[in-house]
């Protein structure tokens, strides 16, 4: 983190080193990127991270399983509900319990709404980086509707701690289905509005097509997952490959992109928003009656063992590797952070592009520094 940057001798050297410092309008948090440039062309990048490192994995070893649950929201704070889902499901597997069907459906609905809100935030900030100032305000307006649903359900908008180990704590409130259905009707024209502003826009196409190409084999080699991998042409989604929550019973498609450039990642995420609405529509009609909490002991002491469970978070594969020593506190919790691993591909994607494209590429990977650094 304290790497010394060589002084820029920009007038007489072939190579300039420019620092996009931790405080920068476009690095989406405290990310420091050191660029080696030849004029305007990027020769290489180096990311310096860790400004937001809070030692979440160490904290986990000193909290009980239930006490640790709110901490996972704070990692990818934009998609807190997904983080909570992954953690709760991992511990449920370790305890060998299964959440009841009603809980699984409500979890699916909230997680998909969270996926939409995460993608909306991504879209607004990505467009803002590329100079289109207006979509940010529109996407945040839509995001408000989703955050209202979260607030009505669990009292919090951003770091929700919506789920509990074994199911849900709160029953759905009166009017939950109506509000979700109203959102499902309100939202699809808005996606069309964003597409009208951006997808056909010649300037947008020129800024995003052919920029930051990541081929499929490179992506798999770099352990990239999520929309970035799907835009490179690999049709793989954990919701279909290893279904969890209620996804096995719902019908949806996995969008992929042909080339793996910024435009494809944009199109994949737009289509994912539409598919999420489709999932929510189906799920909200099918919520079964029943208990919302499985039988879990008050004091959770999973047997000695380990588990690796991963879900498809909006950013990629979010995995939890939990080792239990039979006590009330986990022995080791490892969070597999999709943003951290996707960020490795930044160097590969930036080679040969211009400085202005670096901003576009950082935006298109969709990083949240809370997850990169944990």
């Amino acid at each position: 983190m304290a790497t010394t940057t060589p002084q820029a001798t920009f007038l007489d050297a072939n190579e300039i080193v420019i620092n996009m410092g931790p405080q920068h309008p476009s690095t989406h948090g405290v990310l420091r990127v050191i660029l080696r440039l030849d004029g305007e062309k990027v020769l290489g990048t180096e990311c310096v991270i860790g400004y937001l490192h809070r030692g979440v994995e160490k904290i986990a070893e000193n909290r009980t399983y239930v006490q640790f649950a709110p901490y996972v929201d704070r990692m990818d704070y934009v998609a807190a509900v997904s983080n909570g889902l992954g953690y709760c499901e991992a511990i449920e597997k370790l305890l060998n319990v299964e959440a009841p069907p009603r809980a699984r459906y409500v979890r699916t609905i909230l997680t998909e709404l969270n996926r939409i809100s995460s993608h909306l935030l991504w879209l607004g900030t990505h467009a803002l980086d590329l100079g289109a100032i207006t979509p940010l305000f529109y996407t945040f307006r839509e995001r408000e509707e989703i955050l209202k649903i979260f607030e009505n359900y669990c009292g919090a908008r951003l770091t929700t701690h919506a789920f509990r180990i074994g199911g849900l704590q709160y029953e759905t409130y009166d009017g939950f289905e109506e509000q979700v259905k109203a959102f499902c009707n309100y939202f699809p024209p808005k996606v069309d509005e964003y597409e009208a502003l951006l997808t056909g826009n010649r300037i947008w196409l020129q800024r995003t097509k052919g920029v930051g190409i990541l081929k499929a084999d490179e992506a798999i080699d770099m352990s990239v997952t999520g929309p970035v991998l799907r835009a490179s042409g690999v049709k793989w989604d954990l919701r279909k490959a290893k279904p969890y929550a209620a996804y096995a019973e719902l019908d949806f498609e996995i969008p992929t992109g042909p080339n793996g450039d910024t435009f494809d990642r944009y199109m994949v995420r737009m289509e994912e928003m539409r598919q999420s609405i489709r999932i929510v529509r189906q799920a909200v009609d099918k919520i079964p009656e029943g208990p919302i909490m499985a039988k879990v002991p008050k004091i959770m002491k999973p047997p000695v063992g380990e588990i690796y469970h991963s879900i498809e978070a909006p950013k990629g594969e979010l995995g939890y590797y939990v080792v239990s020593d039979g006590s009330t506190q986990p022995y080791r919790v490892r969070v597999r952070p999709p943003c951290f691993i996707n960020l490795q591909a930044l160097d590969r994607m930036c080679r040969g592009h211009l400085v202005a494209d670096v901003v576009a590429i950082i935006g298109t990977i969709d990083i949240v520094l809370g997850e990169v650094d944990r």
Partner: protein, 212 residues
Amino acid sequence: MPEEKPPEPPKPGESPAAPAAPGAKPAPEAKPHLEKPAVAAPTGPVGAPWSGEIVETLKSTFPDIAIQPFAYLTQNYLLLPRESIVPVAMFLKTELHFTLLADLTAADYPKKEKRFEVIYQLYSFSRNERLRLKVPVGEQESIESVVPVWSGADWMEREVFDMFGIRFEHHPNLKRILLPDEWEGHPLRKDYSILQQDERWVRENLHIESGQ
């Protein structure tokens, strides 16, 4: 979701859990809500052996490497010796199509003879199957880097080095990634005390004794 209880017989290769005082954590001081039960300090998770095509192929390709297959809650893993990681990994990637290195991490079991365990989570698209590799590494030992096999291991290994102090041979750029370069100590080790870290910082920067 598996419904059956996991089997519990002692495994070959795993020493039985010896009752001992909890790691090197400071003795719990008046924290009534955090009840540390008198349970054995762990020497690692236990699992039942499994066999299958992958194990057979591996055993036949690497007859002189002690590969021990286990499974816990239907998740399969292999215990491998330290020296064999790169050949086995390369074989798994190229021949058995485990092309995605989903995660690379480590865990610290100070009671064990080789205290660290480097854990690789692999995934195969064509088989839609996960596999875990666990490699015990001793305190002063180093392990070969798998960056030549999966280049995504780059930052993951740097993080393991940062948090545990395990050195990876032939890694392109092994230096700390999340903590400042001049940080001393490796936080995720069990003998790294946050309290001591805090006391040291307060002493160095505020020149008083931390009252904790």
